[in-house]
């Protein structure tokens, strides 16, 4: 009888402990992830067409590998779309995430039709993020004529 009572005590205690552990902030972090992805895509790179915004640059990097972009402040400086994408995209994300040092990211850019462009994908950040327990994901489509791009951003707590 006493053993039964002790078991009831422990059971109630465990139940209360488990119910007190709450997952906080999912909605907020989903909003943050979405806003980060959208904001990064819209930023102007400082280069001219076809590298005007980050999303333009990524599209060019995936589809028109030979095109070069002139730097707005000095048109003698020319770079490949991929070079500009590699230079600007992770740098912008890194700067934003300095205000959230507990977060890490992984970004995947690929054509919507995986058979298009030989199935190449571009990635930035830490690939281990995908395997972490609690992650927040945002997806964006960049709509263009030749093919649409699918861009996924994953954030997690370090």
């Amino acid at each position: 009888m006493i053993v039964l009572i002790i078991i009831i005590f422990i059971g109630v205690g465990l139940f209360l402990l488990i119910s007190s552990l709450t997952t906080e902030g999912t909605e907020y972090y989903n909003l943050y992830t979405h806003d980060l992805l959208v904001s990064v895509m819209r930023v102007k790179t400082g280069y001219k067409n076809p590298c005007e915004t980050v999303s333009d640059t990524l599209y060019c990097a995936m589809t028109r590998v030979e095109r070069q972009c002139k730097y707005s402040m000095d048109e003698t400086i020319k770079k490949d779309c991929r070079e500009v994408a590699d230079e600007v995209t992770p740098e912008v994300i890194r700067k934003v995430l300095t205000t959230k040092p507990s977060l890490d990211y992984y970004m995947i850019i690929q054509p919507e039709d995986p058979e298009h462009l030989g199935g190449e994908i571009i990635t930035y950040g830490n690939p281990d993020v995908q395997n972490r327990g609690k992650t927040w994901t945002a997806n964006e489509r960049v709509l263009r004529y030749q093919t649409n791009l699918q861009i996924q951003l994953i954030l997690t707590s370090i």
Partner: protein, 157 residues
Amino acid sequence: MLRKGQMHLMEYVLLAFFILMVIFLIIFFLMGWNIGTTSSRQHALQQQRATFLLKTFSNSPYLNKEGFKEGGMLEDSKLTVLECSDLEELVGRGIFAEVKIIDSITECEQENYPRCGVWKFCSPGNKQFTAYDTPVNVYRTLTRDVEIGILTVGFYE
């Protein structure tokens, strides 16, 4: 015989007392749990309020550039002329907000516009506050440039 009977009786009374104690303890624990969920509910409501304020500010038709349906494209000219009293009229008192372009330190006034990148509204002073932030874009009206910044919105009691 009598002692045995008395002991038996005592056992019975003790057991009854113990059962009653367990029931009362369960009731107290449940009350405590209710208080606990109320406090975590309050925290959830606070976060809900903060998320709403973030989205309201970031998607506000008073501050956004026309043509960006998803919102989050705040015009620097509109931010420069926005005042604390406008914010209070729109979303209520006890709110503060800040927009800071990455790598900017100069606070915007009408005199130094557009060579600035920080806007502050309704500072909380020394009061205790709750604040949340999210990335936004800032559209430079005069140069048509698009930069990235952090929007921070908070409330204080």
